[in-house]
């Protein structure tokens, strides 16, 4: 457990590095789209859908890029969610967030969010707008409860 927590802390510490390394491989056109705005999450979904199919998620060769994309999504949430904190569930194996880096607001409003929970459905359903919808849902609820001042 302690080792897993340390792995998670290291994973969080390297979020920016992973994104930067990934950006180097992208065209300027794409990099311009991935500007950490809320709308950029739609662009990320389009990119995922165009580049990958479901089986690719299980292919070790794609792990690095998938990890970088997940990092990008999490960082975007961190920038837009008030008091976002990175968390990980390491106890309950039946929890859908088990061993998946996630983010939650503080105080907690709505659920923790992990991009890893939604990669499958994004590719399977070829659905655009889910990441944005989840971000805005919690952000708006938070503002409703605590106002914008706490972010």
């Amino acid at each position: 457990m302690k080792e897993k927590k340390e792995n998670f802390d290291a994973w969080v510490a390297l979020i920016d590095d992973r994104i930067e390394d990934w950006f180097i491989t992208l065209s300027n056109h794409l990099k311009d789209k991935f500007d950490y705005s809320i709308n950029s999450l739609d662009e990320i979904e389009k990119y995922l859908i165009e580049k990958f199919v479901l089986d690719d998620l299980r292919n070790e060769m794609n792990k690095k890029e998938i990890d970088a994309i997940a990092s990008y999504i999490l960082k975007t949430y961190k920038l837009h969610w008030p008091n976002g904190e990175y968390v990980i569930e390491l106890e309950d194996k039946k929890n859908v967030l088990f061993n998946r880096p996630a983010i939650i607001t503080n105080p907690k409003v709505g659920m923790a969010f992990s991009p890893f929970q939604f990669l499958q459905s994004t590719l399977n359903l070829k659905r655009i707008g889910a990441f944005k919808q989840m971000l805005l849902y919690t952000k708006n609820k938070y503002i409703e409860m605590y106002g914008e001042g706490r972010s």
Partner: protein, 316 residues
């Protein structure tokens, strides 16, 4: 016969007991046969304790009375005889178990349950120990329910005290809303306990249903998945019976022998959590599947209400 006459002559109380309860004579002869050196006082005590037992239970009782532990327990608390009587047809180890007898005795005292009804219900129970374990007075069941009604997940293993507590409180809610016949606790409890054998495995119903779906979704990833939901500022664990991450769809499976699922507090908490999952985009589709039962009118209305309506599916 000489010993019998001696006992009658020696003990006026024994004489009176025989006059008022002829089965005391049976007790005398059976016990002296089993324990030739038994004193009149010992026989008198046994006959007094066993005086209300039906004749067909005497042999077993006298045999059990020879056991030191059982003997001591019933002599200390003669009310245990009623409890013993209700399970006399069970194995010797079961009916001489003092914990079992105390549990049943408390249940009989607190519910005023008719012994003959208990005896008859016990005879039909295939899992005798479980039948006894579920003999929990109403107040205690309510306490159990209070302990978890706001703390999901609510998927209780049939037939456990928590499951019985959940079902009883669900039934009571239906009664409050005028949606059932409002059986009293004793009748309801007998009905519940009588169904113990219907469920051989806690998850068989939902496992069978899940397999019948043919979803491309392995059981270890799709059955009994927990999602954290924050409702009114509190994190709740919502354990969905079936959750398909690849399609963001889920199913809640209800199998109530009583035929109806009412809008009790724990059920409302589940609906609230599920609607939050739909509202936040964590789920795109959610069905509540009722197998061999159906939602009450108010529950169905709540499930199907907008926004974030939940589909109701009723299976025979």
């Amino acid at each position: 016969m000489q010993a019998f006459e001696k006992a009658v002559n020696e003990s006026e109380t024994f004489k009176q007991l025989i006059n008022s309860n002829p089965s005391a004579v049976d007790v005398f002869f059976k016990y002296t046969k089993k324990k030739p050196g038994a004193s009149v006082d010992e026989i008198l005590e046994l006959a007094t304790i066993a005086k209300d037992l039906p004749k067909n239970q005497l042999d077993n009782f006298i045999t059990d009375f020879s056991d030191a532990g059982f003997n001591s327990a019933v002599r200390k608390n003669s009310k245990l005889v009623d409890a013993w009587s209700s399970i006399f047809s069970g194995s010797a180890s079961l009916r001489m178990n003092v914990n079992n007898l105390n549990k049943l005795s408390t249940f009989i005292r607190e519910t005023g349950m008719d012994i003959s009804k208990l005896t008859s219900s016990f005879k039909n129970a295939k899992d005798a120990q479980k039948w006894i374990d579920l003999k929990i007075p109403e107040a205690e069941l309510d306490n159990i329910y209070s302990g978890f009604k706001n703390d999901p997940p609510f998927n209780q293993t049939p037939w456990t005290p928590e499951h019985k507590a959940q079902r009883w409180n669900n039934y009571k809610k239906g009664c409050t809303n005028g949606e059932n016949t409002c059986l009293d606790f004793n009748d309801w409890s007998n009905g519940y306990d009588g169904k113990i054998d219907l469920v051989t495995s806690a998850n068989k119903g939902v496992d069978d249903y899940f397999n019948s779906l043919g979803w491309d979704c392995p059981s270890d990833k799709c059955r009994e998945q927990t999602l954290d939901v924050v409702v009114n500022g509190q994190t709740k664990k919502r354990r969905l019976d079936i959750y398909d991450e690849g399609n963001l769809r889920g199913k809640e499976f209800k199998e109530y022998y009583s035929g109806k699922v009412y809008q009790s507090e724990d059920i409302v908490a589940e609906v609230t959590a599920d609607k939050e999952l739909l509202a936040s985009g964590r789920l795109l589709e959610l069905e509540w599947v009722f197998k061999g039962c159906e939602p009450s009118g108010p529950l169905r209305k709540l499930l199907e209400s907008s926004p974030n309506s939940i589909t109701v599916v009723i299976l025979p």
